[in-house]
Each structure stands twice: as C-alpha cells, then as structure tokens.
C-alpha cells in the first residue's frame, strides 16, 4: 500500500513553485495550497506511517491522531484566510517564507519522533524570521536578528534535551514525558521559549510588531501554538505549567495596558492568551487539555482577525501608534466591525468562540479545586476585555479624532476578515463541530447555562465600566515599556562597556607594570648591569681623585662598557682582579 505523505510536504514542496509562478497565478496558488492541505488532513487515516531508519533510530515521519489533526485543521484554515488577506502582496519572498513557516509548523505537529520534530522546529524559526526581515526597515532587521538568535538559543536547549533523552532512554518517539528528568526539563525550557513564557517572552513583543502587514497576521498563529501543541503532547499535567501559565496571563495584560503601539498591544495579548493554554496543559485533565486545544483553535482565528484589522489600519495609514490613531470608525467601518468581533471573541463574550473554549480551561481548574489558578484565570479574563477587547478598538477607531481619513481596507482583506469573523460567531453559537474534534474523551460540556452567561456578562461589563471610569489613567503616551529584552539590548551594550572598562583597564595596568616597568628595567639591566657590577667590584680599586672626577670616570666607564670599547688591558686587569677577589675569599 502506498503511504500518504505528511501534509507538511504539500506546503514545503509546493512552496518551491512560488518563485517561478507569474504574480497573477501565484496569488491564487498560495490560497489554494493551504485549502488543499486542509482537506488532505481531513482525509488522512489515523496511525503511524513513514517509519524510516536514520542513523540507527526509527523515525516516524507521520503520526495522525486527534491531537495532531485539530492543530493541522486550524493551521491550514488560518493559512487559507491569511493568504486571502495577503492577496495584495506582490513579492514572492514573503509567500515563500510564509509557506515554509506554516509547512514546518504542520511538520512539527504531525512528527511522530523527536528528531524530525526538532528539524521542523528549527526550519520554523528560520523561515519566520524572513517575515520580519521582509518589512525592510532598519528596526525590522535588528529585531529580526534578535528574534532568530533567541529562537536558535531556545532550539539548542531543546536539542540538548532531546539528545540527552535519546541517550538515556534509547527511544526517539515523541511521547508524554512522565519522568521529571534533566532531559525533559531542558526540552521544556526550549519549548517555553517558543511559548513566550516570561522571562523568555520579549522576543514576541519585540519582533512581531516589526513584521510586515501580512507577516504579523501569519506569525501570530504558528510559533506559540506549536509550542502549546508540544506542551499538550509532551508535558500534560506538569504542575509548574499552571504557575507559568497564570503568570503569563497577568504579565500579558499589564504590558498590553502599558503599550502604545496597537500591534504591540496585540503581541502582548498573545502572551496573555497562550497563558490560558499553558495553564490548561499544566492542569492536565481531559477537560483542561481539551480546553487548551479548543482555545488554541479559537484563539488562532480571533487573534489573526485582530492582527488583520490592525494590519489593515497600518496598511492604509502607515501608522500603528495609538497616539497617532483615532477616529477611524468614520472611514473604516468594516475593519472596525470585524476587529470588534475579534475583540469580543478574545474577551470570551457570550455568543463568540472564546466563550465556548476558554470556559473549558477554567472549568478544568474548578474540577481540580485549584482556587488560585481559577481566581487568576477569572481576573485575567476580565483583564483581557480591558486591554484587547476595549483598549485596542477604542484607541484605534474612536478616542480622539486625529483627522485621518484613510480608505476602507482592500476587498481581499475585508473578505478574509469577514470569513474569520464568521467563524468566531459560528463557533460561539454552535460549538459542536469544534467539540467533536477535541482530542480527549470527556463529558459533553454545556457553556450556555444562565449561570455561566450571567457571571461572564457581569465580569465583562463591570470591566468595561472600570475602563471608562479610569480612562484618564489610561491616557496614551508616546513611550515604550522596558521588557526582558532590555537585558540583551541594553544589557548587551552595558556588558560591552563594562568589559571594555575592565579589560582595557587591566590591559593598561599590565602595560604599566610589565612593558614599561619590568621590561624597561630588564633593558636597563641588560644595558648597564655588567658595568654596574664591575664598578661595584672594581670601583674601590680604581685610582680616582675627588668625587667629581670619580663620577666622570664612572660615566666614561659605563659608556665604554655599553659599546664594548674597553681596552684589552683594562679588561685583563679587571679579570685578574676578579680572580684575585674570588681567590681571596
């Protein structure tokens, strides 16, 4: 029987055609490719295939189960929408990078062994960098370089863990890590870099807002969600993830509240949302894991939608700071409408997808009686409405009218946004199709009870009330907020200056001591030493008169000695004196 190839290959090989196709054909081709991959994934039979030998290890290049399939669906679905959105892009480079990036993300979630998983993980890091570099601004170049360095460092950590794991267990299959070994911890650290868990989170808010308009949309989905997949697959029930996830939810909110750049606000809200999923992975029960997977699914859609609406604003106005924007509701009403649907979905407003997925994770925390985790998740849910639900649309589309009158977003962008907005609402009122593809067995969950809806509405509406009551405190300032990237951006130059002081200071001191002190002393000794010794030995016997004469004779003697011009007679006399001297003593 012919084995069906992994879906990643469809995109990776298909991407190679992108540079040679004419532009008019290319834009349709890149939309078609992910759509094809979506239906291909739906047709793949479950199980392991493509088992090949690689340096004595049995690799499994394709593993299809419910967990990999749900991520496969959402990755390709989102790629389809993103490519419709990117219809206006003329250069082939961005499409090539995007398809490699999405393809390798698919590869990672369908990889059955750690070796091929790692391979895709690294391709993803490199390909995604080009979506940032493609912006071609100086800032984008710099943050792209920082981005790839952080990811390569994280990748090395993952690799160290994988090598150690294979070495100790002898197995390359990618199964849940049960033992808390050093290898597993190293892998977890590498994965958490990609999940943007603080303190390794600053790469996200540093790089994504510098990406191109479509680059930001595409980047928002894959790196962090592949990490969420890896946590669900490899580290379910690791309690530390509950703590890390809860921290991420709050950290994302606080920084999003401090931010001025709209795409940076959205970048921080990714960290906040991934925090919910990481917590779900940490809780580790079927409900919580399903919640994390479902939330990843819903999140990718509404987050892409939010990035799309922000991207449309950036595309039309060339501005992304809240202090420069405002009043856009007048000329970009559709972008506002779709953006608001995304904002409501991320806030889990009843009737949107977020409400039917995030509540599963919170339910998981309640089932396990995790009081603190539950409380933090509820607080964070309120905070999401604050920063992403209201702050983003309010400051971009309303607030102070800056007199900007840009045209409405291009039709392809509106089409893509409309499609995703539809899914947000569809999954909000009819979550059954999503619940049917969840990876783990659980009791059917009913999100829409009067109690659930009431408490959620109370939570959200009172958050909105606080937002408008505290509006003076939220006034935007044209500033940035320091994050952990300070350590390698400023810390780097501080380190350089410190090292400069220390090493060059040391250098100067050693120079004074050795080169100027010791070496010169040695040179002087080599020059005058013999004469000095001779003078000491022979001086008392030298026929001299007064002090002045002695000094003169001595000077003459030194000079002659230095040039080796002592007469043979005096040399002989001195030698005799020496011998006599030693003989007498």
């Amino acid at each position: 029987m012919i084995e069906l190839p992994p879906p990643a290959w469809l995109l990776l090989v298909g991407a190679l055609l992108v540079p040679v196709l004419p532009a008019s054909l290319r834009r349709w081709y890149v939309i078609l490719l992910p759509a094809l991959a979506f239906f291909y994934i739906a047709r793949l039979p479950e199980g392991l295939s493509w088992q090949v030998q690689f340096f004595g290890h049995d690799l499994t290049l394709l593993r299809v189960d419910k967990l990999s399939r749900i991520f496969g669906y959402i990755f390709t679905l989102n790629a389809f929408a993103a490519m419709v959105y990117a219809f206006y892009v003329k250069e082939s480079g961005q499409h090539l990078a995007a398809l490699f990036y999405i393809g390798s993300a698919l590869g990672a979630v369908f990889a059955g062994d750690l070796v091929s998983f790692y391979f895709y993980w690294e391709v993803m890091a490199v390909a995604s960098t080009f979506l940032i570099l493609a912006r071609r601004t100086e800032k984008a170049l710099a943050s792209g370089m920082r981005y790839v360095l952080v990811h390569l460092a994280g990748g090395l950590c993952l690799l160290a863990g994988i090598v150690l794991h294979i070495h100790t267990t002898g197995s390359v299959t990618f199964d849940p890590m049960v033992e808390r070994t050093l290898a597993a911890w190293l892998m977890l650290a590498g994965v958490l870099v990609n999940a943007a868990a603080p303190p390794f989170s600053a790469w996200l808010s540093d790089a994504y807002p510098e990406a191109t308009v479509t680059g930001g949309v595409i980047l928002s989905a894959y790196t962090t969600k592949t990490a969420v997949y890896t946590l669900l697959r490899g580290f379910p029930g690791w309690e530390i993830l509950i703590v890390i996830g809860c921290l991420m939810t709050l950290y994302g909110i606080i920084y999003a509240l401090l931010e001025n750049d709209m795409r940076r606000i959205l970048a921080y809200s990714i960290i906040n949302q991934v925090g919910f999923m990481v917590t779900g992975a940490g809780i580790g029960t079927a409900v919580a894991l399903n919640g994390a997977a479902a939330h990843a699914f819903a999140h990718i859609i509404y987050k892409a939608l939010l990035w799309m609406s922000a991207g449309a604003v950036l595309y039309r106005t060339g501005k992304s700071k809240c202090t420069d924007l405002g009043g856009l509701y007048k000329t970009m009403p559709w972008t506002l409408l779709f953006g608001t649907i995304g904002a409501l979905a991320i806030s889990s407003f009843p009737g949107t997808s977020g409400f039917t997925t995030k509540t599963l994770i919170i339910e998981g925390a309640v089932h396990q009686h995790l009081v603190w985790a539950w409380l933090v998740l509820e607080i964070a849910s309120a905070g999401v409405f604050l920063h992403a639900g209201i702050k983003f649309p309010y400051f971009v589309f309303f607030a102070k009218d800056q007199g900007l009158r840009p045209a409405e977003a291009p039709r392809s962008m509106l089409l893509a946004m409309g499609f995703l907005a539809f899914i947000c609402i569809f999954l909000g009122v009819y979550p059954q199709p999503l619940h049917a593809i969840l990876p783990y067995q659980m009791e059917p969950y009913q999100a829409y009870t009067v109690g659930h809806v009431t408490t959620q509405l109370q939570l959200l509406m009172f958050s909105a009330l606080v937002f408008f009551l505290f509006l003076p405190l939220l006034k935007r300032t044209d500033t940035i907020a320091l994050d952990t990237d300070w350590f390698y951006r400023r810390g780097g130059s501080l380190f350089y200056r410190g090292a400069d002081r220390l090493l060059n200071g040391l250098n100067a001191a050693v120079d004074r001591l050795v080169v100027q002190g010791l070496a010169r002393g040695l040179a002087r000794f080599a020059e005058n030493g013999p004469a000095h010794l001779l003078w000491l030995a022979a001086g008392p016997f030298w026929p001299t008169g007064g002090e002045a004469e002695t000094a003169l004779v001595r000077q003459k003697f030194y000079r002659r000695m230095a040039v080796g011009a002592l007469s043979v007679g005096s040399m002989a006399a001195l030698a005799t004196l020496f011998v006599a001297f030693f003989y007498l003593y």
Binding site: I379, A382, L386, F398, D401, V450, G451, L459, F462, L482
Partner: protein
Amino acid sequence: MNSSEKQSFLERPGAIRILWILLWAVCGLTLVPELFIERHPHFSFDGFFGFAAVLGFVACALLILIAKGLGFFLKRKVDYYD
C-alpha cells in the same frame, strides 16, 4: 476636519452622556438574572450576590493601577534603544 462631512452620532452633544447611562444600565441589567437563579459557588468565598461583578470591577481597577505604577519605572522614550 472636513466641514461637509456629516456629523456622526458620537460627535453630537449629549451622545457621550447617553452612552454613559447605557453603560451603567447594562451593568445593572447583568445583575438582574442572578436574582432568579440558584447560585452554584465553586469555592467558599464566591457565593455572595454579584461576585463576578465585584471581581471584574476590583480586578480591572487593580490591574490598571498596577500597570500605572509600573509605568513609572518601565516607560521610556521611543528612541531609548536607538
């Protein structure tokens, strides 16, 4: 601003006042259903009337104040890294 542009609802005098009244009214409305349903508190401290409303209000107020406070230490000019 273009003077021929038709004035939107939001710019009319009194519109903001109407929106404020609406916001308070909706907040009040969300409390109403709780009068008629049996509460199922998950833990010991969340059983009182309007718990979610209080939580939402207090949590957001705290988050904003914390962010504001941290802003004094963390905010820098945009060209800080240049």
